[in-house]
């Protein structure tokens, strides 16, 4: 807590001063409202004004009228984008947690808390979006408590999601307790964090690959260029690449948006570390590309490259895998942080493209009917992402995410 005189004399004011301090950022309610009248918030408000009624509409009228899902295409963008892309882009916490806590790369200190917060919110909002996709969302805990489908990859994912959200919460909670000024809890959870990371690394690897394994059981439905028995490995490696790239993208964005919080910041060091992350991503992309080629060689379907889907496949792996691998390496060789950052953006787009291809575009490629999202599906997805971003900003504005809390020794 800041060094401001506490209103110990006037008891009734304590609660309101706490709210003022913690929630309204030290402003009065009116000032706080005024400070929120920004263009960005206006856009967010418009998005939510559409998305929230869509959510209600989905709950009241069901999946039929609110989606383009059919019996042949049972999964749409709420799975393909909200879950598959949402979870893979939330791999930053896994990557940074491993590097910082387990490999002892302490120089990445400043990347850790934002990455873990992003992951935590990514998972929470992915599951929130999933609620709208589930026919009987009110049964979400059933695989945990009522009935156990032990042969299902989905079962593994459900458990791993639940446990991983808890692990991420533990990793993030020191920031929460610093904000609430609960010193004892903060100390306790700081010590628990390294164990949560160990646990998290084990199960995050498991479910990132399991998301790929979801499609291993549908060889007849996924286009042969994307189908491979290596899908779990593809998903795992691309999750690590996505984690590294997202940390780069997100650190640039947060440093722009929350400039005031990072005034005393060593930018030369920051750029150096960014380039190193890019180097790691480059290595990951090369391995990923090689495995993709092995996968293709194993299936032996080279002939399919000379088809419409083939060009699309080549576009994905040449422009969004091989090219960024070289660009990251170029950025590292010539110490060009701008190239590293733009390449990270490109890599993130490429991984989103891969997930959308696997779950929507190359999926059911041979089916008599194709799926296109209804506008309500898009609105809900954009709405959930907006909620995630707003929550992220709300927390970063209040808790010590981008800087070390002055009253507390930095962790470890």
């Amino acid at each position: 807590m800041r060094e401001r005189p506490m209103n110990t004399a006037r008891q009734p004011d304590r609660a309101s001063s706490w709210i003022r301090d913690k929630v309204f950022l030290g402003m009065s309610f009116r000032e706080y409202l005024k400070s929120n009248m920004t263009v960005a918030n206006g856009i967010a408000a418009i998005i939510l004004a559409v998305a929230i009624p869509v959510m209600v509409y989905r709950l009241v009228y069901g999946l039929g009228p609110s989606t383009n899902l059919t019996d042949t295409n049972p999964w749409g963008i709420w799975i393909g984008v909200d879950i598959l892309c949402g979870i893979v882009l939330a791999a930053g916490g896994l990557v940074m947690g491993t590097m910082y806590y387990l490999f002892g790369m302490k120089q990445y200190h400043h990347f850790v808390r934002p990455a873990i917060l992003t992951s935590l919110l990514g998972y929470i909002f992915a599951v929130f979006a999933l609620l709208f996709d589930l026919g009987r969302y009110y049964r979400l805990p059933y695989p945990m408590v009522v009935s156990f489908g032990l042969t299902s990859i989905m079962f593994l994912i459900a458990w791993h999601f639940a446990l991983y959200i808890m692990a991420l919460f533990v990793e993030w909670s020191p920031a929460l307790f610093e904000w609430l000024n609960l010193r004892k809890l903060r100390e306790f959870f700081s010590k628990l964090a390294v164990w949560a990371t160990v646990f998290g690394v084990i199960i995050a690897g498991g479910h990132q690959s399991a998301l790929g394994a979801l499609f291993v059981i549908a060889p007849g439905k996924l286009h042969p260029l994307w189908y491979s028995e290596l899908l779990p490995v593809f998903f795992l490696i691309s999750a690590i690449i996505a984690g590294l790239s997202m940390v780069i993208v997100e650190s640039v964005l947060t440093h722009r948006v929350f400039k005031k919080q990072v005034e005393q910041f060593d930018y030369a060091e920051f750029d150096k570390l960014t380039i190193n992350l890019g180097k790691g991503a480059s290595a990951g992309l090369i391995v990923y590309f090689a495995l993709k080629v092995f996968g293709l060689a194993h299936s032996g379907r080279w002939d399919l490259l000379n088809t419409g889907y083939g060009y699309w496949f080549l576009f994905e792996i040449l422009v969004f895998v091989l090219l960024p691998a070289f660009l990251f390496a170029y950025g590292a060789r010539y110490k060009n942080v701008r190239i590293t950052r733009w390449t990270a953006v490109m890599t993130v787009i490429g991984i989103v493209l891969n997930r959308v291809n696997t779950s929507l575009i190359a999926f059911n490629w041979n089916a008599p009917e194709r799926y296109y999202p209804l506008w309500t599906e898009v609105a809900l997805t954009v709405g959930v992402i907006t909620m995630g971003v707003l929550t992220f900003r709300w927390i970063v504005n209040r808790m010590a995410i981008l800087y070390d809390h002055p009253d507390y020794e930095s962790m470890h």
């Binding site: 069901g62 039929g64 049964r139 042969t151 299902s152 989905m154 100390e187 498991g206 399991a210 059981i217």
Partner: protein, 310 residues
């Protein structure tokens, strides 16, 4: 659920929670030598669609007068199963002379069903009689069974907002459990197209028919080996891919495709756990060393604490 069964499962679950263990194979539990099947001889089907009417009637799906099923215009498109339609008859044309071939479509009742292994709340069951049945009481509505089904059979009640169910042919398990009763579609079929019996007998019968009339049939009993075998079996005069069947599905059952991954994940999670735990120990002890060395920290209270525990 019996107590022992419950304990076994509870053990699996706690295992799953920690290291992703636990796996009950479908075949060990359910495959029964006397299970039933249906042989569909498409060479006899006249496309009267009475099986559709009978199916709707028995399963209390919205129905029409039986006369309406004589309408041939529905054959202009190839139809699939839907929420209130557990079976459909489609018309294909023989490539050589253009004569129609009618093919009934419904759940194949796999020997080792993909929907069953895909379901994360164990809502599907392969009964002793051979039927693959669905339990709506535990279904969460993830629709992964629909993704998993290689025959695109399960449908979803998308228009029910609160209690949607997955729907599919039940093999009339509530009829065939009674001795002497056959599925509704089989009962109403006016030709010899549908034949209900023990699956083993039907396979023998199918091969006998092919042997006796090699010019009438292609030498292939669809469902004998496809995705590990199905309870419903088909005979045809033309190659199956010409009458709407997928012949690229292979003999491997759908559950077998995920088994390897689940096993590898368990192994990985168990093996990977140990080095990571040691790494964590190492990381913590290093931190403590550093704390002990930097004795002049401004946070004396904290340093003291670490000193004590180290």
């Amino acid at each position: 659920m019996h107590r022992r069964e419950f304990l076994k499962r509870a053990a699996c679950i706690s295992g799953t929670a920690l290291i992703g263990r636990g796996d009950v194979s479908a075949e060990e539990a359910h495959i029964h030598a006397d299970r039933y099947g249906v042989l569909v001889d498409t060479t006899f089907c006249i496309g009267c669609r009475r099986c559709e009417w009978g199916c709707n009637e028995w399963n209390k799906n919205p129905n029409q007068p039986i006369k309406n099923f004589e309408d041939k215009t529905v054959f202009q498109t190839v139809r699939r199963t839907h929420a209130a339609t557990f079976t459909v008859v489609n018309r294909f044309k023989k490539p050589d002379d253009g004569t129609p071939v009618y093919v009934k479509k419904q759940c194949m009742h796999c020997e080792n069903p993909g929907c069953l292994s895909a379901c994360f709340v164990d809502a599907f069951r392969k009964t002793e009689k051979g039927a693959v049945v669905y339990n709506p009481d535990v279904c969460v509505g993830c629709r992964y069974c629909m993704v998993a089904c290689p025959f695109d059979i399960p449908a979803y009640e998308y228009d029910k907002p609160i209690t949607p169910r997955v729907t599919k042919c039940t093999f009339c398990f509530d009829r065939i459990s009674t001795e002497g009763k056959v599925p509704a579609c089989v009962e109403i079929c006016p030709t010899e197209t549908l034949r209900f019996g023990k699956r083993q007998d039907l396979i023998a019968l199918a091969h006998e028919r092919i042997r006796n009339n090699p010019r009438r049939y292609v030498n292939h009993v669809y469902g004998e080996h496809e995705v590990g075998g199905t309870s419903w079996l088909y005979l045809s005069a033309v190659p199956f891919e010409q009458i709407g069947f997928r012949t690229d599905l292979g003999k491997k059952s759908i559950p077998d495709m995920s088994k390897g991954f689940l096993f590898m994940t368990k192994v990985f999670e168990v093996i990977a756990a140990w080095p990571l735990v040691f790494a964590a120990f190492y990381a913590i002890s290093k931190v403590k060393d550093r704390h002990n060395k930097s004795g002049t920290s401004s946070h004396e209270r904290k340093t003291d604490e670490h000193g004590k525990t180290a």
